[in-house]
């Protein structure tokens, strides 16, 4: 695939960073095996899960403990070097894209589960511990860690904190922010701070909430205390087919109107099921324009009651076919297709670009109609998977980076979806983060005053702007350069002004 880099003239300039001095400073505080600087060694770190953007860093530091994290940060702080923290590199917004004049602080070696207390229902883990590994360790106690992003086999808890990761069960069980009790982190100056504790609240500002989803811009996470919750006794999933996407969308609203909060509520359109079915053989109805997956979990009695209630709603909403998983193997098969949607699309298209806008659920039909029009406009196909319960849409735009112009058209397609998400009352990112990718779209969602407030928050932690520069929050200059305007409730501010 082609790689590309954006140059942002008005962002901070770090081109005078002295590479030799950086390497010497890092070598002084890290074991030899924890410092990578050769071209070949750096290559695996050139991108994260969003591989359209690639850049080599000056060096990769792989600290083994918090003291080394502190030492690396102090060295970089002293030398004025950008630092990009990285977990497993599964992120989809380029949040861990290296800075060309900076150091990647990879936390993969800090992968120890420090303590698991089944009675207190919490685990204390290092940032490099994989999301799924926590639930696996908790399983013998009948407990698990609720947020389950699709990448949970690989993604780490440190990265989950950075992005406020979600998953397919967050309507009922919440996002990372609802499932983390405490974060210990290090500022760029090397100061160790603790946010939250093992109690349910802590004095002062809720900086724990601020840290979660801060995309590595405020501090580097070195330890996390997560909440573990009891694993439901039973889970069953209903798979319902619809001959119109709009009916499937209405069914989602009807389920919620009936007072039901399903454990998972997902939708896939025809393009998505068509991509997935040959790959996973989940048994999806390929004639359906959309399928809904609605999961119920709890006690056997509770699940039976809820499944019956949801079935009634779905029938009334015009489902053309309804199947209920008979056992856990079938339930997992129904889900396997949804969880494999991204790689499945990757099989049928040389490249794909996953968007992450959230919209009010009731605007779904409008959004899907608009996306269908955009497919024609940009001459690109798009499959849609949708966390229907929480309005989080993942259009997967299919393209071929080797065809000149396709990546550019894909990006324009994506930007148009994000602009529409904001216009429909939603947001440019539900769970993947802004990262490097959507920094321009932040200018659409936020006013200059709001962006300025974000910059002030950043400066309270990192006045020199060394942690993950050029990501998440655009400079006002950049918004002007992009010609992007803040759209508020569908109306441009200052409509009297001429636009470029």
């Amino acid at each position: 695939m082609n790689s590309r880099t954006h140059s942002h003239e008005n962002d901070q300039d770090f081109s005078d960073v002295d590479c030799a001095a950086v390497l010497a400073a890092l070598a002084a505080v890290l074991p030899a095996a924890s410092l990578l600087a050769g071209q070949e060694e750096l290559k695996p770190y050139e991108c994260d899960g969003l591989s359209a953007y690639r850049r080599l860093p000056l060096a990769v530091a792989l600290p083994e403990n918090e003291a080394q994290v502190v030492a690396v940060l102090q060295a970089c702080h002293r030398l004025g070097v950008p630092v990009v923290a990285r977990g497993a590199g599964t992120g989809l917004s380029g949040g861990a894209l290296p800075h060309p004049h900076g150091v990647v602080l990879a936390l993969a070696k800090m992968k120890h589960l420090l303590r698991l207390d089944p009675v207190a229902r919490l685990a204390v883990v290092q940032p490099g511990v994989r999301n799924l590994a926590i639930s696996e360790a908790a399983a013998p106690h009948g407990l698990y860690y609720a947020p389950d992003p699709s990448s949970q086999i690989a993604c780490t808890i440190g990265g989950n904190i950075a992005e406020n990761a979600g998953g397919v069960h967050c309507l009922k069980y919440g996002l990372t922010v609802h499932n983390v009790l405490r974060v210990r982190g290090v500022t760029i100056a090397g100061e160790i701070l603790e946010f939250g504790n093992a109690a349910l609240d802590a004095p002062g500002y809720d900086l724990l909430a601020l840290m979660i989803g801060s995309e590595g811009l405020l501090a580097v996470v070195t330890e996390v205390t997560v909440k573990l919750i009891p694993k439901p006794e039973v889970a069953r999933v209903i798979m319902a087919s619809f001959d119109e996407v709009i009916k499937a969308g209405a069914a989602v609203a009807e389920i919620i109107a009936a007072g039901i909060i399903p454990a998972g509520l997902e939708m896939m359109d025809k393009a998505a099921t068509a991509a997935v079915e040959p790959f996973v053989k989940a048994g999806y109805d390929l004639n359906a324009e959309a399928i809904l997956l609605a999961e119920s979990d709890g006690t056997p009695e509770e699940v039976e009651e809820e499944i019956a209630a949801m079935r009634a709603v779905l029938e009334k909403s015009g489902a053309t076919d309804i199947r209920v998983s008979r056992d856990d193997a079938e339930r997992l098969r129904f889900w396997a297709g949804r969880k494999a949607a991204f790689p499945a699309v990757g099989r049928i298209s040389p490249d794909y670009y996953c968007m992450d806008g959230t919209i009010p659920r009731k605007r779904l039909a409008e959004m899907l109609t608009a996306i269908a029009a955009m497919e024609k406009k940009y001459r690109l196909r798009c499959a849609n998977v949708f966390h229907a319960g929480d309005g989080n849409l993942h259009p997967l735009i299919m393209y071929d980076a080797n065809v000149p112009g396709e990546l550019e058209r894909t990006e324009a397609f994506g930007v148009e979806i994000l602009d529409l998400s904001v216009k429909l009352g939603g947001t440019i990112t539900g769970e993947h983060g802004v990262g490097f990718e959507k920094v321009g779209s932040m200018c659409t969602q936020f006013s200059s005053d709001e962006l300025t407030a974000f910059h002030r928050v950043k400066a309270a932690f990192d006045p020199q702007g060394l942690l993950n520069p050029d990501k998440a929050v655009p400079t006002l200059h950049r918004c002007a350069e992009f010609g992007r305007m803040h759209v508020h409730q569908g109306a441009l501010k200052h409509p009297e002004l001429e636009r470029f």
Binding site: G204, A209, E305, E306, K362, T429, E450
Partner: protein
């Protein structure tokens, strides 16, 4: 009205933001010229199937709860109503949650978006009305519990949920240590426990969820059922606890709020204790010195707040547990980021800012 608010901010005098004043007692003593926010009121949008409500800061909590109840929904974090006029702005600024907090989450967990005026009178909107939103820092949740020190909250969007279909209340005679042990063990099982309260050797447990789940849990847990016939749910006990109208909260003895890990043992502090949140919230009526209480809370990994007491004690001890120096210095910088001239509620959270 926003223009009036802006003018007051730009006048540069310290302001004491107030909704109904029902929580004037909370935090350090209010200072500054009074800025009444109550008149900026009204529900802006409520969409039951989108699971959110947006309302202006002065909207009475009672009005919001009535609107939600009409659609079979609720604020699951059960904010306490210390006065009939309690407003949404005050609920969010104080960040206090009620009996269901341990199972349902706190105010901050239900924050979707906020509109506020910062200390330079700029109108800022963060978050929105959708469940999942990671664009920009999560300022909405930061605002919850900030006691109005970061900005004048104008409007709030909260996630709402359906009311539980069924509820039941059970009662057990248990000494404190045993009650704590049972609560923590039960919490590790898939039981529909919504709230708990232990006082004077009696543990009261509230179940909430699907009817069948509640019934199955009742059978499993035993205990004595409060309420007459199994269908009628008597929530008055929980309402009184939520609003601190029970006799435990009456009288003039200092009331301390200890937020601790749920597994913390019985705390060796003099005075009567009421325990909520599965062990994680311990109310204490005690004349013990502030240092002794704070040290005890810190020794188990928690913190102690002087909730209600005479002004002299609060002024001497500070309402909230002191912060470690690096964290306090970060608080100063955060305050300055939103309110550089120190206009909003000076000293209310910490005397230092």
């Amino acid at each position: 009205m926003i223009e009036t608010f802006k003018a007051r901010i730009l006048a540069g005098q310290p302001l004491c933001i107030r909704g109904s004043g029902s929580k004037d007692f909370y935090g350090n003593a209010p200072q500054g010229e009074l800025l009444e926010a109550r008149a900026y009121a009204g529900i802006v949008a409520y969409e039951p199937t989108e699971l959110f409500i947006t309302a202006k800061c002065g909207t009475p909590l009672a009005e919001i709860e009535t609107a939600l109840a009409a659609q079979g929904q609720c604020l699951p974090f059960e904010p306490p109503r210390f006065g009939a006029g309690s407003t949404l702005g005050g609920v969010v600024a104080a960040g206090l949650s009620g009996p269901r907090r341990a199972s349902a989450g706190a105010v901050r967990d239900f924050m979707l978006g906020v509109k506020l005026l910062d200390g330079t009178a700029h109108e800022l909107t963060f978050g929105g009305q959708v469940m999942k939103n990671v664009a920009g820092y999560d300022i909405s949740r930061l605002i919850a519990g900030s006691l109005g020190t970061l900005g004048l909250i104008l409007e709030v969007s909260l996630k709402v949920l359906p009311k539980p279909v069924a509820e039941a209340t059970l009662r057990f005679a248990l000494p404190q240590a045993e009650a704590l042990d049972k609560l923590n063990r039960w919490a590790g099982q898939p039981l529909p426990i919504a709230a708990s309260a232990w006082l004077d050797g009696v543990l009261t447990l509230r179940l909430a969820g699907a009817r069948t789940a509640v019934e199955a849990a009742e059978k499993k847990l035993g205990g004595m059922k409060v309420g007459a016939d199994g269908t009628a749910i008597d929530n008055s006990f929980w309402d009184e606890l939520r609003d601190q109208k029970t006799s435990f909260f009456a009288g003039a003895l200092p009331l301390w709020r200890l937020s601790v890990p749920s597994v913390a043992p019985v705390l060796a502090l003099p005075g009567a204790t009421l325990i909520e949140w599965g062990g994680a919230l311990r109310w204490l009526r005690s004349t013990a010195p502030a240092d002794e209480i704070r040290t005890a809370a810190a020794s188990v990994g928690g913190s102690a707040t002087v909730f209600r007491c005479d002004p002299a004690l609060k002024s001497a001890a500070g309402a909230f547990a002191p912060l470690p120096a690096p964290l306090m210095s970060l608080h100063h910088r955060m305050k300055a980021a939103f309110d550089p001239h120190g206009i909003f509620n000076p000293g209310r959270l910490y005397k230092e800012f």
